[in-house]
Amino acid sequence: MSDAGRVLRQALALGALSLVLAAAVHLPLIKSFARGEFRESFFRAADYPGVRLITLEETEDLWASGAAVVLDARAAGLFGEGRVPGARNVPSAGREEALPEEVLALPKDGTLVVYCEGGDCQSSLALARRLHDEGFRDIRVFGGGWADWTKAGLPSEKDDGPE
């Protein structure tokens, strides 16, 4: 069984080497993390200058004034059951699938608001990154998402019509 022990030690040594390399190469990033960055999301403002998180109130203002196009990143089924009135569904933020043509055709300097379920959901952030990569430069991520919108008693609509 000493051979098994040797193999295990090799594997552990590879793990330790990986830790050392990761710490050496990503030291600036680790320092940023230690300072408290990336605790809410893994966005780095410098990488995504056009993306920012917004509150429920800001979202409501943008929606009510019609100043932004609202995009719902949830699955199509959930979108059909209830959504922010006028929102468009962009359910897949998968990298292998292109964004819908009607979304890509929107003005690149226009304001977009993206949301998902709320709470722990991540698809609105993923969608925001993809939109940024497509050239959109004013993307607001509503972190509270559908959960906060409905909790606040704001209007909604579903496939059959307004609720």
């Binding site: 069984m1 000493s2 051979d3 098994a4 040797r6 193999v7 295990l8 030690r9 090799q10 594997a11 040594a13 590879l14 793990g15 080497l17 990986s18 830790l19 390399l21 990761a22 190469v25 990503h26 990033l29 680790i30 993390f33 990336f38 605790r39 809410e40 999301s41 893994f42 966005f43 780095r44 990488d47 699955a75 359910p91 897949s92 933020a93 998968g94 990298r95 292998e96 722990d120 991540q122 698809s123 952030l125 993923a126 990154r129």
Partner: protein
């Protein structure tokens, strides 16, 4: 298990190459990979961040060592361990009904699903062949079996 040395060499190059590639495409953008890990909704921000900066290096090192023929079985153990973890993770993700990118190959990733599991199983087979049938001094299976037979005597 495969014992032909030439076939095992091909397995080492293929599996090692795939892991070096998988690590290399992720190491340049750890935040993007951290987001992929976070999307699985299994661990929080901190663990996602730590995994995202360490895991690509583990893949690169294990793959490189496998190709170079250094610590072959240790590297094979790391790779098979990772593959078992990836398979379980994908199954759990599918069972929870989450629609996420697998995060396997950076920006070339696709949705977690059966195709990812089949690929991982194929790689797991190569990894197990290398772990248990590398031959010569490092033939783990032979050593374990002989230790068992000695105990039986």
């Amino acid at each position: 298990m495969v014992r032909n040395k030439t076939v095992l060499l091909v397995f080492r190059l293929v599996l090692g190459g795939l892991f070096v590639y998988a690590g290399a495409v992720k190491v340049g953008d750890p935040l993007d990979f951290a987001q992929d890990i976070r999307n699985y909704r299994l661990v929080g921000q901190s663990l996602s961040f730590i995994a995202a900066i360490v895991l690509p290096w583990l893949e690169i090192l294990a793959g490189s060592f496998l190709i170079a023929g250094l610590w072959r079985q240790g590297a094979a153990l790391v790779i098979t361990g990772l593959l078992v973890f990836f398979i379980v993770l994908t199954l759990v993700t599918m069972a929870r009904g989450l629609d996420v990118d697998c995060g396997c190959f950076g920006s070339l990733s696709r949705k977690s699903g059966w195709s990812v599991i089949i690929e991982d199983l194929a790689m797991l087979y190569l990894g197990l062949c290398l772990l248990f049938a590398t031959g010569g001094r490092s033939d783990l299976a032979k050593r374990v079996l002989s230790a068992k037979s000695q105990r039986a005597e």
